[in-house]
């Protein structure tokens, strides 16, 4: 079976500094993969390379067999990869449901003229988008907050809202950058359940996370980065006992 996402020898440098060096790994369809490593190891850079925010200096990134590097971010999203951000990037001054509607955008068609004329198809589409947005909000458990401003949500809920927005794009692969940041243990537990539900829906998940307990519970496979280089890959239990990983990630003595 072909991997859904396939990174092959991806390298990214910033003015002489190698942020990501020759990283290769695959994400199988329907799996939950964790990308871990100490702060500054280049995990978020890998995410930005996948989503087209950065263009790699070399190497290839294949999604369903198609090359992603060089493609515009919005194209990558509409081809089926959605993401959340490490530092929450919601539209803070807009309502919760409007935030989710942003995700619906790439699955909609109507333009300026149909909006001005308010054609029946445009109205149907708007209604459908609104329903989809509400469904995704309900999925992450935020439907009751729909009309609240995004800025008024707690950090944990803002993380969930970002996930709802990502889901509204109808992704095959969702990549979550530290989804548990700012969550208390109860919320973290709910997040683990949510990730399981994503898997049930058939959505592949790639995530960066510091909370090791979450990673161990949620992921089927881990990829470990240190200084932009992959130092380990495999099942959580195996990675956990890898001495290099322990030294790099869990702290030196």
């Amino acid at each position: 079976m072909m991997a859904l996402l396939d990174l092959n020898g991806v390298t990214k440098t910033f003015g002489g500094l190698t942020a990501v060096g020759d990283v290769s790994f695959t994400v199988e369809e329907g799996s939950v993969v964790g990308l871990i490593g100490p702060n500054g190891a280049g995990k978020t850079t890998v995410f930005n390379l996948i989503t087209g925010n950065y263009v790699p200096n070399s190497g290839s990134i294949l999604f369903e067999g198609r090359e992603l590097s060089g493609m515009a971010t919005n194209k990558i999203v509409s081809s089926g990869i959605a993401r959340t951000f490490q530092t929450i990037r919601l539209f803070q001054k807009m309502s919760v449901v409007e935030n989710v509607l942003a995700g619906c955008h790439c699955r909609m068609k109507s333009g300026i003229f149909s909006a001005m004329l308010r054609t029946p198809s445009q109205r149907r589409e708007e209604l459908a988008a609104l329903e989809l947005a509400m469904r995704e909000l309900a999925f992450v458990g935020l439907a009751h907050q729909a009309e609240n401003l995004a800025a008024n949500l707690s950090y944990g809920n803002q993380r969930l809202l970002e996930i709802a927005r990502a889901l509204a794009t109808g992704p095959k692969l969702i990549i979550l950058d530290e989804p548990a940041g700012g969550m208390n243990p109860q919320e973290t537990d709910q997040l683990v359940a949510l990730i399981a539900k994503l898997k049930e829906r058939g959505i592949t998940v790639l995530l960066i996370e510091h909370d090791m307990s979450l990673v161990m519970r949620a992921c089927e496979k881990l990829v470990v980065l240190e200084y932009g280089i992959k130092i380990a890959e495999g099942k959580p239990d195996a990675v956990k006992t890898d001495p290099r990983v322990i030294e790099a990630y869990l702290g030196t003595d």
């Binding site: 702060n39 500054g40 401003l149 008024n152 700012g182 243990p185 510091h210 307990s213 702290g251 030196t252």
Partner: protein, 236 residues
């Protein structure tokens, strides 16, 4: 001088980040604050330095309420910080960065001595003195950030993730240096991702979770605490 934080609440907009943080740091101690990303560690340090104004609560340093003081006054009282992400002045030289660190220090003689001491602590910075800070490697920048804070000759030094993105060998050096600094009588508050290393260095530690202190104990006890091990030491 003792630092005391009483029931500190901080809000960003409508969202609370700190919900009643209490902690004390005794003179000469190294205290570490542990917690997940987003738990409010950096916010706590920024509140101490006066860059974030708390909605309620008090910060008392050396018996003086510094909660409402402007940040430069707080630095003058002897509180210096090496912030998260280093935030060195990239287009200024290493020397200029150090000069700025000693901004509140007017005594030229004293300043020269401090610089000597810093060059002794971080010999690499002496070599790099005229280089732009932005061209330094990550580790060198981190050293510069700490050195810059030391230039103020602080009574208490706040360090926010000094090991971020550093090679283990460098982390070791930096932590050793922190100990050395502490031994000269500077109180240290250390926020660290690298919990194990931090707890080995510190005398005491606090665990912050979603804006609240949930644990407080001596470093050894925390290191042995299964809950801490599970959450921050990768299940031990």
């Amino acid at each position: 001088m003792r630092l005391e934080i009483k029931d500190l609440h901080v809000k960003y907009g409508n969202v609370g980040v700190l919900h009643g943080v209490n902690l004390t740091v005794e003179e000469g101690e190294i205290v570490t604050i542990l917690g997940a990303n987003g738990a409010g560690k950096s916010t706590t340090l920024m509140s101490i330095s006066g860059l974030v104004k708390p909605s309620s609560g008090k910060i008392i340093f050396g018996g003086e309420d510094i909660t409402k003081l402007k940040s430069h006054k707080i630095v003058e009282r002897g509180v210096a910080q090496s912030p998260e992400g280093r935030r060195v002045f990239g287009t200024l030289t290493v020397d200029e960065n150090l000069l700025l660190g000693g901004f509140t220090n007017f005594d030229a003689n004293h300043k020269a001595k401090t610089r000597e001491w810093i060059y002794h602590l971080f010999p690499i910075l002496k070599e790099r003195a005229t280089q732009l800070a932005g061209t330094l490697s990550g580790g060198e920048q981190q050293m510069l950030a700490i050195a810059r804070a030391l230039m103020a000759r602080p009574k208490i030094l706040l360090l926010d993730e000094p090991s971020l993105g550093l090679a283990p060998i460098l982390v070791k050096t930096i932590f050793e240096t922190i100990r050395e600094i502490n031994e000269t009588g500077v109180t240290v508050v250390l926020v660290e991702q690298n919990a194990r290393a931090a707890l080995k260095l510190a005398h005491r530690g606090y665990v912050l979770e979603v804006g609240k202190i949930v644990l407080e104990d001596s470093a050894e006890t925390l290191l042995a605490n299964p809950k801490v091990q599970n959450a921050y030491l990768g299940g031990g």
